[in-house]
Structures are given as C-alpha cells and as structure tokens.
Amino acid sequence: MKVHAPGGQDGGQATAPPDNSDSLASFKEFAGPRGDRYGRTFLRIQQAKLPGYHLNTSALIGGFLWAALRGNWPLFWIGFAADMVAAVNMALVHKYDLAAVQAAADGKDFLVQRYDGWSDAHLQAALILFFAGRLLLGWLADRLYYHHYTRWRINRSLPSGQTIKRLGVGMLAVLLVAPLTIYRASQFAPDQRSCIKLAHMIQDGEQVPLKDRFDCWTISEFPTLVWLQRPPQYSFPRNDDGTRSIVVKEPSSQRPVNLNNWLSEHIDQGIGYMKAFYGWLFDGVTRWIRVLLNAVEAVFVGTPWIVTSLMLVMAAVKLAGSRMGVFTAAVLIYMMLFGFWQTAMSTISLTVAATVICVVAGLPLGIWVAKSKVGAAVVTPALDIMQTIPSFVYLLPAVAFFSVGKPPGILATVIFAMPPMVRLTALGIQHVPASTKEAALAFGASPRQLLLKVELPLALPSIMAGVNQVVMLSLSMVVIAAIIGAGGMGFIVVDALARTQVGRGILAGIGIALIAMMIDRVVQKANRM
C-alpha cells in the first residue's frame, strides 16, 4: 500500500484502490461456506454501494431455513412468521371449502356463497403473504446478516458460518409451533361452554369421541384442569338477642366447580363472616368518616351560597393573588348558573374530607418510611400495589365492607390518593442533606428536635407537592366514587351516562374540570408564595 506524504496530492484513491484484503479475510472467516460471495456483498455494504434491489437468492428460496443454517435468529423468526401466517391462511381455505361442501349438502345456498367468498379471500392472502414474505426475507437477508457480522466482531461467541445442528434447532421450533397452529386454523374450534359440557359428560361417565376431547384440550380455550367440590353455603342470621349464628346449608348442586368459582365463593363467605362478626369495626370507621364529612359539609353545603362563594373567592385572592380570585369567581358563577352549586359543594366537601384523612394518615406514614427500614419494607410494597391497581378496583373492597354511600366513597378515595403523600413526605425527609442533619446533631439535637426543627421544615416543599397531588387525585377519585353512591358532580355524569343524556353529562364534566383547575391552581400558587 502506498504511503502518502502529508499534504501530498489526493490522487491516492483514484490510482490505487484501497486494500481490502483484511476486511475480506474477516468476512470470509465469519461467513464460512460461500465466503467469497458474502465477502463481496459485505464489502459493498461497507462502501455503501449495495444496490437497493439486491436480493439474497438463497434466503429467497430457503426462507427461514437459510436463516437457521446461518444462525441468524431474528431473520429466522421474521421468515417463519411470514410463512406461518401464509400456511394458516391456506388451512382456513381448506376449512371453508369443507364448510361450503357441507352447506351445499344441507342445501343452504347463502352459506355456500359466504364460505366460498371467505375461502377465496384467504387464498389470496396466503399467496400474497408467502411471496411478499420471501421477498422481504431475501431483501433483508444480507443487510441483517452484515449487522450480525458487526456484532460477531465484538463478541466472537455469537454464531458464525453455517452448521446443520442449527438447522435441527430451527426445525424443532417449526415442529413445536406449526402442526397445532395449522390444525387450529383448519377446524371449527369448540367454544368454552361446549367444552365444559363435554367435561360434565366425562364426569357422568358418558362416552365422548376422542377428537372432541382432543380439540377441547388443544385448540379451545385453556382447559379446566382443576375441578373442586362446590363449597357449602354459609349464612349468618341475627338471633333474637342480637348475636349472630352460623348456618351451613348443602350446596345447591353437587357438580364440581372450577377454581375461579370455588375461590370467589369462599371470598364472598369470608366477607360475609367479617361483616357479621366484625361489623362494629366497619361501622365505627364509617361513623368517624361521617363525622368528619358532616363537619366539612357544614362549611361548604350548609352555609348560604352567598357566604360560601365570597369566602372561597377571598381565600383564593389571599392564597394565590387577584387573578386566581377572578378565575375562582368565574368558576363559581358557572356552577350557580347551571344549577350545580349544591352538587359542586358536595364534591368539594368529599375532596376536602378525603384530603384531610390522607394528610393526617400519610404524614406519619411518610416519616416512618423515611426513618425506619422496617417502615420502608412494609409500606413501600403496599404503596406500589395501591398505585398499580386501577382506580375502579378500589371500589370493590369499599363496597364489600362498608356498603354504598359517601363514607365508602371517601375510603376508596383515601386509598387511591394517599400514596403520593407518603412517598413525597419520605422523599423530602430523605433528601435533607446529611451534613445539615449532622450539624444539628453536633449541636445536641434530640431525634424529636431533629425531625421538627430540621427535617420537616426542609422537607416542606416536597410535602406540599404531596398535598397538591393528594387534592387532585382525591378530586378525580371522588368523581369515580359516584358509581358507589358518593354523590356530587360525578353522580350527574354517571346518571347522564346511564340515561344517555349527553348534554347534561358534558355540562357536569366541564364543571368538574373547572373545579379541578381552580383547586390545582390555587394550591400550586399558594405553595409557591
């Protein structure tokens, strides 16, 4: 290879083509059989000279088998998927052809026509998919294979060359996937109900055709593996002296049930038992929530609208400035004009009550999480679960134990809205600089003084962000809780949904959005000021 002096003429490339024997050797080492052909192709890819129409004929003809031989599994799955879908379509063609013959024998002409149409459509799909898939594979093959090569250069343990063993692995994958899939497409699969009927027939000792049993096990829904004895029915009637007794009745039917039915009946009975014998606990919780809610509602609902609205506007001005005052006034006027005043105040009361409970319970919990390893280990997973569960699902336990109405609505809201309070309190405390805490300790602060005089004040911005989140989450959940009778603006929406009164629902929805904006802005501005 020529060596050019610095600053020399740049004719080097034109006169002597750059030496590429190193690259070629490496390409050949990677490709193994037919190394020359792949070496040339890779060189052209490296030089960005590969024409757009370039196809790998081996891949085009061999399909996913070529990819398996070469150990390129991404290409294998692409090719296999395309061929598989084509095969499934062919199986469907077969299925509808048979069905058409059957329909012709039954003399149902309209069915024959329909089945023939479907059969044709699937045939076209099968052909297009097969040929397009192979073309795609042939086009992708060398390009992805080159990518495979670049990764192999970094990690030599990646497959290279071609071996028959990999072809065996590929065939195994095909054998596992293809037969049943194609069989499923060529048959009318039994539905779940007929399979359960079949299972009952087997339980009763009747003879069942082998094909039906096979179909139910393989190509229907997942078969019912476990059949369990139906649990006896419990009830907890109240005696004359006010105590409860347990009455056990035989189950209504002797037939075994599946796991789902069995467990849900047990859960029902467990809840029934808890309500019968620990009702005082749930009643107590309900009563305390009721007391709190009554106190809040006395302020918002029980006070004349003139007083309440004036107070709200003044509070907004004081907390967040005059612009927010104007916005608050506009929101309140919207509520009054459209007749939402009482319901809006009821929603706000619910939100405030839920927020109060969240803050009062969440702050100590957050401190516990920040301070104690046990606290973090106990509370953090619980919070994770609480935040993963969709809000709708909270309503179930609330209804199960606390029946319907406002207190269970608030309870569900509290569970939904509390996690950010706990998390942000803990976060705020954990983020107090260690040096600041050390300084406080060096001046003789007790753990209590450290918490009250250093950690909580420094965590305050984070805690207030938590309160803001709690308010917003409470509002959104309070609306959903209307489904279990919590009332308020949400009820209008739920009611409008049920009766398809779209207009009324939209007006109430706008009202809810306005309340949310009002509270959010005021709380945020107040935090900043």
Binding site: S435, A439, A440, L441, F443, K453
Partner: protein, 348 residues
Amino acid sequence: MDERQVIEAREVWKIFGERAEEALRAVRQDGLHKAEVLERFGAVVAVRDVDFAVEKGEIFCIMGLSGSGKSTLVRHINRLIQPTHGQILVNGQDMGALSAEELRALRASRIGMVFQNMALLPHRTVRDNIAFALELRNTDPFTCHQSANGLLETVGLAGYGDAMPSELSGGMQQRVGLARALAADPDILLMDEPFSALDPLIRRGLQDEFLVLSRTMDKTTVFITHDLDEAMRLGSRIGIMRDGEMVQIGTPEDIILHPKDGYVADFVQGLSRLKLVFAHRIMERPEIYDKSHGNLADADTWPQAHPKADLNSLVSLIVGQQCPIAIRDNGKLAGIVTKDALLKGIQG
C-alpha cells in the same frame, strides 16, 4: 491525669463496614494494609490506632490529604462517630460512657463545631441559625436573641441578623457558622476544614480573625485542614495524618525542621520557612563564632534580636548591613546569626 489535657484520644480505631470487629482483630494481629483489609473484609480502615492529647487553650491542627481520616477522627471527639476501638476523653470524661441525654447536653453546651460546607439551616434567619444550639437547650427566645446579636458583632456581621443564609456570601456564611459554634460558649471548638471552600483572600482574612478570636476567647480548638500553610499559620501544634495513621505530632517548627519520614518531608519541602523557623534554631554559639571570626567584641554595635524572632524579621535587620546579628535573651548574648547562616536557614 494531666489537668491541662482537655481532649485525649487513646488508641482510637475506626473501621467502616459490616465486618468491622473481625477486621479490627485481623489488622491488630497481622498488621494488614488498608487495601488488604478492604479486599478481605470489605471494610475501610478510616482511623488507625491514633493517640493524641490537646491541651487547654491550644489550637491543635490535624493535617492530611483527603481520605486520610482526619474528618472521621474529629467526629469521634463529639461522638458523631463511635470508635470501633479505643477511648476519647473530654475533660477526663469518657465520651463512650455517656448516655444519649448526657451526650446531647455535652454537645449543646461544651463542644461547638464548624463545618466545611457551613451546613446552615436554610429556612432560618442568620440570627436563628446562631441561636440554634441555645434553642435546642430550651433557652428562652429573649436570651437567644440577645446572645445571637452579641455574636453577630463578634464575627463582624452586625445588622445581618434578619437575613437568610442564602443571601450571604460564602465567607459571611462561614462567619455565621463560627458564631453558631460559639453561641453556647463552649470550651471546645471543632473546626472541620472551615475555610477550605472559600477563596484564598477571604480564607486569609478569616484565618487572621480566627487567630485573634481564639486568643481572646481562650477556647481549645481542634482544627482540621488539608492545607499545610493554614496548619502552620494557625496551629500551636500539628498532627499529620496519612491513611488513618497519625504520622507525626509536633509544633510547626518541629515538623519543618525534623520531619519524621519522607512523607512529611515531602509535605514541608516547598513551604516557606521565613515565619516558621526562629533565630535560636540557626544561631551559632558566641564562643564558636568568636573562634572563626574573632570580632565578637563589636557585638554591641550589631543589630539585636530575640531568640524567638522569625527568619523574616532577621532578614529585615540584616539587609544592607555588613555585620552579623546578635541574638540576646534577656540582655545576655545567646548567639550570633551570620548572613550565611540566615540564607542556609531560609533554604532549609
């Protein structure tokens, strides 16, 4: 026990890690190195068998590079860190034997501490920061207010009492940190690299002010620094730490003239001796001088200096003179410093 010893550390070891006790036993038996301990026990030897004593009223500087364990060591004195082994005595009281309540009382009233990053409470005014230690002892607000105002004046921040710490410059913040440490009028000041984060000019100024303050207030100070110049300027005595060990303890002059090993020697090499070495270290005895020069009789006409005069002042005396300097202690001729000897002394 020596009455003058305010702080005494005896065989203090600190090893961080889950298997500290085990590591301590192994280190004491086999004398493992830091790296070996880390490898075998996953534990870090931060302080290694340190003994020292601080006398009343002195400024004891602990000097070392980062990671030498000096900050860890100073935190043992007020038991922010518990030693793995060994004892710390403060005024003869074993710190390890104190109950939590006694410890808090001692921290609040007897030991003040200043931190490198100030560690002021950002949500409190300067005045409330200074009065923090008092407030923790449930002092009434009026007394807190009064003593904080007094201290603001002491550290030269009068009128800044109602400012928030974030409104002050770094140097001013550290003055607040100092005032806070002085608020409960403790006998002991722990200064953990207090001036390291400040720029050199401000650092110089604060060092000077601190020297004046500590002379007038008669506090016993343990001063941590990684800056040898600072240690030499401030320290009555200096302890040099390396890898958790106390390599050498001595007066600045001791350390500069008799470095114990190559490590210390490397440290002091580049240091200017002008203000750290004194006449009595470089003077010749009069009779020896007389033997070689024979003009001792003229000694009364020569410039005169005290044995404790530093080299810097000797240079001022001798510039432009042909004769040497006579060193007199209480009027009695103690020695002679020639120009050559002075130049040698400066060179080291």
